[in-house]
Amino acid sequence: MSDRNTGVIHDIGYQRYEGPRLGRGYARRSLLVHSVRGAYGLGRSAWAKVLPVGILAIACVAALVLVVVNTQLPVEVIDYVGIASTFTFAATAFVAVVAPELVSVDLRGNVLSLYLSRPLRRSDYALTKLAALATATFVMFTAPMLILFLGMAFSTDDGISGVLAEFGGLLLGMLAGAIHAIVLAAIALPFAALSGRRVFATGMIIGIFLVTTPITGALMALSSGPGAQLAGLINPVFLLNGIDAWLFSSVMADVGVYGPIYGLVAAALVAIGTACTVWRYRKVKA
C-alpha cells in the first residue's frame, strides 16, 4: 500500500541550527512588528480585530465623506492637519483599547519571562512596546489622510501643481499625526502597564482623557484671554490641538502666544511617560 503513495513523509530527525543569530536589534524589530500587527488584531482572534479595525474603518469612512464635502463645496472645510486635530478624540479611544492589548496580556500571562530569557532587555521591551503603540496610532491618523489625499489629488483642477500642493499638505498632516501618536502613546502606555487586567487599564486611560475634558471646557468657558488660552494644557486632546495651532496654524484652537508652552508640556509628557514605562518594567518579575 505504501508503495503506491508518492508523498511519503520522512522523519529526518532533529536538525541543528547553524545559521546566523541576529541579536538584540533584530529582536526589538521583531517585537515591534509583532506588536503593531497585534494592535490591529492580526494573527489574533476575530474579536480582537473588532475594535481597532472598527475605529480605523470609521475614520476612513469619515475621510471619504470629507473628500466629498471638500470637493463639492467652494471652500475647503478641512485640511490634513485638521484631520489630525479632529480625529484625536477617536485616537484616544483607539489608544485606550490597544495599549492594554499590547502590555496587559503579557503582564497577566507572564509572557515577559519568555522575552527576558532571550537577548531582549527590560528597557528594550518597554521602549519597543511604546514605539509599537505610537506606530499603530500613527497608522490610525495616516489612513484617513491618505484617503483624503487620493480624493483631493484626483479631483484637483490645477493639474500636477495641485497634486503637489496636496502632497505638501499630506506631509504636514503626517507630521502632526506623528506628534499626536507619540504624545498619546506616551500618556497611555504607562497606565496600561500598571494593570494586567485589560478592563482596568482601558478604564484608567479613558478616565484620564474624559475627566480632564470638562475641566478644560469649563476653564475655557469661564475665563478669557490667557486663562482660556492655557486651559488646553490640562487635557491631552486640547493640548494636541493647541500644538497644531502653534506649529501648523490650525484654527482648531486658540493658544495665543503660548504655543511654545504647549510644545514644552507635550515634550515633558513624552519624557515622563517614557521614563515611567521603563521604570515600571524594571519592577516586573521575570
Binding site: Y14, P20, G109, S113, S117
Partner: protein
C-alpha cells in the same frame, strides 16, 4: 545516554559552574547560600523540595537575577555581563503559565524564534518543525487558549527549543500533568538530551520521576548543595535485586537474612543487596523461594538506590514511587 552529545561544534566541558553562590531577596530571605556546584553536559536533574532554590538558581543562570554573593558562569560566560550571548544560547521553560491565550501556537513560537534572533523564514520553518518534535501537529494552527494543560506544556517546551539552544533549562516541566502526560513529557526531555544532543537541566521536586531520564543529579535543600554526582557513580555499588512473591514475604525475608543476605522491605517487594557474588545471591533466592513453596512474581535488578542517597530530602515523593 551519552554524556558528551554529538553535533556540538564546540566541546563544552562545563555547562554551569557556581562558586559560593548566594542570593538573598531584600536582604532578608535567603534563597541560595554558599552554593558551589558544577553541572556537566548531559541530562542533569536538579532536585529539591519546593522553595529549595531551584528556580532561583535557574534565574541566576539566565541572568534574570543578579547574585548577592559568589560567582556563576554559564557556558563559560557571566550571565550578567554577557547576558545577551548567554540568553541567545540557552532555552528556558518557566514553571508557571507563560503563554498568551489568544495567539495561534505556530505564530507564537515563530515570533519567539525571531526574538531569539532567527531570520523570519528560518523562524517559521523551525517553529513548525519544533512543534512537530514536541508532538503538536495539526493542533499548532489553533489558539493556545483552547489547549489542554499537556499541550500548553508542549508549546512552552517548543518555544525553549525553537532556536536550537546549547543548554535547555526546564523548570518543573511535568507541572500539572497527569501520569500519562508526565511520562510523555519526560520521554520527550530524554529524547532532547540524547537524540537531539542538547544538554538539559531539568528541575523537579519528584526525584523518583526524573532519576529515570537523568545522567546526573544535583540535589539542593534550603539553598545549599546536598549532593551532586553522576547517576552511574551513585548507583554503581548499590545494585539491588527486587524480589516479589505473592504471599509470605515475611518468611522469605527471614530465610534470606539467615542465609547472610542484606534484605530490606519496599512496599510489597523485598530488596536484596546483590553483593560481591551475584550468582550465589541469585541461587540463594531461588532456593529460598523453592523451599518455602512460594510463587515468584518478579526477580529483577533494581537501580533505584538513588532515592536512598537522597533520603535527607524531607519529602515523601523523594523515595521511590
Amino acid at each position: 545516554m551519552s554524556a558528551d552529545p554529538p553535533g556540538h561544534s564546540v566541546c563544552i566541558v562545563v555547562l554551569i559552574e557556581t562558586n559560593a553562590l548566594e542570593k538573598r531577596y531584600d536582604n532578608t530571605v535567603t534563597a541560595l547560600a554558599d552554593l558551589t556546584v558544577t553541572v556537566e553536559p548531559g541530562i542533569v536533574g536538579l532536585v529539591g523540595v519546593n522553595g529549595a532554590g531551584k528556580s532561583t538558581l535557574i534565574k541566576l543562570a539566565l541572568g534574570l537575577l543578579a547574585p548577592t554573593g559568589g560567582r556563576i558562569r554559564v557556558l563559560g560566560l557571566d550571565p550578567i555581563a554577557d547576558g545577551e550571548s548567554v540568553r541567545a544560547r540557552v532555552g528556558y521553560m518557566p514553571e508557571h503559565d507563560c503563554l498568551p491565550p489568544d495567539l495561534i501556537a505556530a505564530e507564537f513560537v515563530t515570533h519567539m524564534a525571531r526574538v531569539s534572533g532567527l531570520p523570519a523564514a528560518m523562524a517559521r520553518e523551525r517553529a513548525s518543525e519544533t512543534l512537530r518534535h514536541v508532538g503538536l501537529y495539526e493542533e499548532r494552527y489553533r489558539r493556545i487558549g483552547g489547549y489542554s494543560t499537556g499541550m500548553k506544556q508542549r508549546v512552552k517546551l517548543a518555544q525553549a527549543l525553537v532556536h536550537d539552544p546549547e543548554l535547555l533549562l526546564l523548570d518543573e516541566p511535568t507541572n500539572g500533568l497527569d501520569p500519562e502526560g508526565r511520562r510523555a513529557m519526560l520521554d520527550l526531555v530524554h529524547r532532547i538530551g540524547s537524540e537531539f544532543g542538547i544538554s538539559v537541566v531539568v528541575c523537579s521536586h519528584l526525584l523518583g520521576e526524573i532519576e529515570r531520564i537523568c545522567t546526573s543529579l544535583v540535589a539542593i535543600d534550603a539553598g545549599r548543595l546536598l549532593r551532586s554526582a553522576s547517576l552511574s557513580a551513585m548507583t554503581q555499588h548499590s545494585d539491588l535485586l527486587m524480589v516479589e512473591v505473592d504471599e509470605n514475604s515475611d518468611r522469605l525475608a527471614a530465610l534470606l537474612s539467615e542465609s547472610g543476605l542484606a534484605v530490606r522491605r519496599d512496599n510489597r517487594a523485598l530488596l536484596v543487596q546483590l553483593g560481591e557474588d551475584p550468582d550465589t545471591t541469585y541461587d540463594l533466592i531461588r532456593d529460598a523461594v523453592a523451599d518455602l513453596d512460594l510463587s515468584l512474581h518478579r526477580l529483577e535488578r533494581h537501580r533505584h538506590q538513588v532515592a536512598d542517597l537522597f533520603r535527607d530530602l524531607p519529602t515523601a515523593e523523594a523515595t521511590h514511587v
